[in-house]
């Protein structure tokens, strides 16, 4: 009763959503894995990326310059925060980290509103990526979303390469297992931490710009995404890039399909309006239920080491 193209389109949508969540979660999970830091302000970096992109696009008219600016601005903000604040928090408990990063959200959100005002900013996708592509099976799908999926998967592949093949990756892996050891063999651990934090921030800023151009660029846009990224990390296992990828796609597809299927399911025995409302209510809880289920059987997440 549900057309195959609709299901196929929703699977693509779920994938695209998942890929975007991965960009957010990857930074969070890296920062946690290497430095043991929980960063609530990661959503602010997402916002900063989107605002930087929108501001540069409105000045120069070039989306690609804006995208570059989003990477640069988020990475710079990340590096700055790491060097001034986070550095003092690595040796402290998670409580202090939660508080300082919560305070940072207040500072970033209110500061952004101060600078840019309360209205949402304008940001649109570049004309070269507008329009739809005809996919096999008679499905017209927005080109931009296909590009997001491709870009996200490319970033994922790049991250795996980085962590498993390069010198920086070796240092990251060493940092996960033994901080003193890499300090002893002469790696500049401070620079390493700043680099990792800036990398995570740049990924978040990139996600903010890419998604901001199809949604809206406004203060507070990062917070719902941040909480979803937490769910992804909990499901995937903290510190694991692979876990973040699998978790993100699982969350993305579950959420999207839940929104489609649950109202339809309730529609078989409820009035349309009631079915739509009840189905939507349950769909909004679905990924949290998924998280609870996975936690029940695997408290450390799918790819986590130990809880």
């Amino acid at each position: 009763m549900m057309p195959a193209t609709l299901v196929a389109e929703q699977v693509l949508n779920g994938l695209q959503f998942g890929v975007m969540l991965f960009l957010m979660s990857a930074g969070l999970t890296l920062v946690f894995g290497v430095m043991g830091l929980i960063n609530l302000a990661h959503g602010s970096l997402y916002m900063i990326g989107a605002f930087a992109c929108a501001a540069v696009v409105s000045l120069t008219g070039s989306f690609w310059l804006g995208l570059a600016a989003s990477l640069a601005a988020a990475a710079a903000a990340g590096a700055l925060v790491e060097m001034t604040l986070m550095r003092r928090l690595y040796q402290r408990g998670h409580l202090d980290q939660v508080l300082v990063t919560f305070a940072l959200i207040l500072v970033f959100s209110e500061g952004t509103r101060w600078i840019f005002g309360a209205f949402p900013l304008y940001l649109d996708i570049p004309p070269s990526l507008a329009g739809t592509v005809a996919l096999p099976g008679g499905l017209d799908y927005p080109l931009y979303r296909l590009v997001i999926i491709a870009a996200g998967l490319a970033v994922a592949a790049g991250l795996f390469q980085l962590v498993s093949r390069t010198r920086l990756g070796m240092r990251i892996r060493a940092g996960e297992s033994d901080r003193e050891m890499i300090a002893a063999i002469g790696v500049n651990i401070r620079a390493l931490y700043t680099a990792v934090f800036a990398l995570g921030a740049a990924l978040a800023g990139f996600a903010g710009a890419v998604i901001g151009s199809i949604t809206s660029v406004e203060v507070g846009m990062g917070e719902p995404v941040l909480i979803l990224a937490f769910v992804v990390i909990v499901i995937g296992g903290i510190g694991s890039i692979k876990g973040a990828l699998v978790g993100a796609i699982l969350v993305g597809v579950t959420d999207t399909m839940g929104r489609l299927l649950l109202p339809a399911l309730f529609g078989t025995f409820l009035e349309p309006a009631d079915a739509a409302a009840t189905g939507a209510s349950l769909a909004s809880m679905l990924i949290y239920l998924l998280m609870a289920l996975i936690l029940f059987f695997r408290p450390g997440g799918l790819f986590g080491k130990v809880a």
Binding site: L6, F119, L121, T132, P142, I211, L260, A276
Partner: protein
């Protein structure tokens, strides 16, 4: 200990310095000035203050407080304004949920409340009150007009969507109340949702000939941008909220040509409106929005009542408000029996004008439209 003593002492002092109101009128404005949605509050405030400035009256004092869009905060501010500031009239609330939290309690304490934006059905029907006046609309109005417009446009099968919260349910109910065609599907999205790919996919797969949506704030921006890029080309109708001046710039060209319903537009042809648009632009350097027009009308209604009666004479002041004897930027304006507007609602089209996106009126959707709940109100 010093750290605590000092603030408390200061608090006591600063509260003590607030004095009771002198003769004239004291207005308490509770509106959203920070956080998400503050753009609307800022516009209401600016429109309201512009009218006061133009009236050059010195006997109206205004206390403005930011509710941060949080109902608890709004309730606390209302308590403060009633208990400490001794205001006579309250106004300013943008959001229905905040209005429901604040209004019933303040009007029962003998204060007047003039709503410049929110018009929840709860306060229009059984929950109406003689001290509560809505100067904007009952929430369903613009959606009802959208339904009426859909009939005129010859649509026979609509795909309708709104966020899953009470105002969203009201919106779809309002549309269905006037739309005579079929409803292809009725979809509730998550409040605050930003990605509508899933809903657009359903629209694409449907047999609808039109789409109606109510997605206020950032939600509407996201939806319109994604809809425009999706290749789905069904005509869209919606209430003015997603196509109004403050937000149009963020939606961008995706909004061009979209029909939306509103009780006001900057090209409404009356002298009051043209003067308002010009002076607002001069005073604030931007085009006025729907919300600014509502704030402006609210202040003028208040001034007109004060001209006729003293606020201490509650009965007379209420009658003066009910008369609505002021020159509205909407042209004709009167209150129905439940103190909600009876007014014309127009269909506007988003156009590009001198490089700026804005609206122009294309037709009249509903004439002298009152709300569906007036009959349930007994006062």
């Amino acid at each position: 200990m010093r750290a605590l003593v000092t603030p408390v002492a200061a608090l006591v002092l600063c509260a003590a310095s607030v004095t009771a109101s002198a003769d004239g009128l004291k207005v308490g404005m509770i509106t959203t000035l920070s956080g998400g949605g503050s753009a609307l509050g800022v516009d209401v405030r600016d429109g309201f203050m512009l009218a006061l400035d133009q009236s050059e009256r010195s006997d109206i004092e205004v206390v403005i407080e930011d509710d941060q869009r949080k109902p608890e905060i709004a309730v606390q501010i209302a308590d403060k304004m009633v208990q400490s500031d001794n205001v006579d009239v309250l106004t300013g609330i943008i959001w229905s949920n905040l209005a429901i939290a604040v209004v019933p309690s303040v009007v029962r304490q003998g204060k007047f409340y003039l709503s410049p934006n929110a018009g929840p059905s709860k306060l229009a029907g059984e929950g109406c009150h003689e001290n509560y006046f809505n100067v904007a609309w009952q929430n369903d109005n613009l959606h009802e007009a959208a339904g009426g417009h859909a009939n005129d446009a010859g649509f026979t099968n609509s795909f309708i969507l709104a966020p899953n919260y009470p105002a969203g349910h009201d919106a779809l109910t309002g549309y269905k109340r006037f739309f005579t065609g079929e409803i292809e599907a009725e979809v509730y999205t998550e409040l605050g949702q930003t990605d509508y790919a899933a809903e657009i996919a359903q629209i694409r797969a449907s047999d609808a000939d039109s789409v109606f949506f109510f997605l206020p704030g950032g939600m509407g921006i996201s939806f319109m941008k994604q809809y425009a890029g999706s290749g789905v080309d069904l005509p869209v109708v919606g209430p003015a909220f997603s196509f109004d001046q403050g937000i149009l710039n963020a939606v961008g060209e995706a909004a061009l040509g979209v029909r939306n319903t509103s009780q006001w537009s900057k090209d409404l042809d009356n002298a009051t409106n043209q003067a308002f648009v010009a002076s607002f632009q001069e005073a604030y350097g931007r085009l006025p929005s729907l919300y600014a027009s509502q704030g402006f009308d609210t202040a003028n209604l208040l001034i007109s009542a004060l001209d006729k009666a003293d606020v201490s004479d509650t009965q007379a002041f209420r009658e003066a408000l009910r008369a609505a004897d002021f020159s509205s930027v909407r042209g004709d304006f009167m209150f129905g029996p439940n103190h909600h507007p009876v007014q014309d609602i127009y269909v506007r089209e988003v156009i590009m004008e001198g490089g700026v996106l804005t609206n122009r009126i294309v037709s009249l959707a509903l004439e002298d439209h009152a709300d569906a709940y007036a009959g349930e109100c007994s006062m």
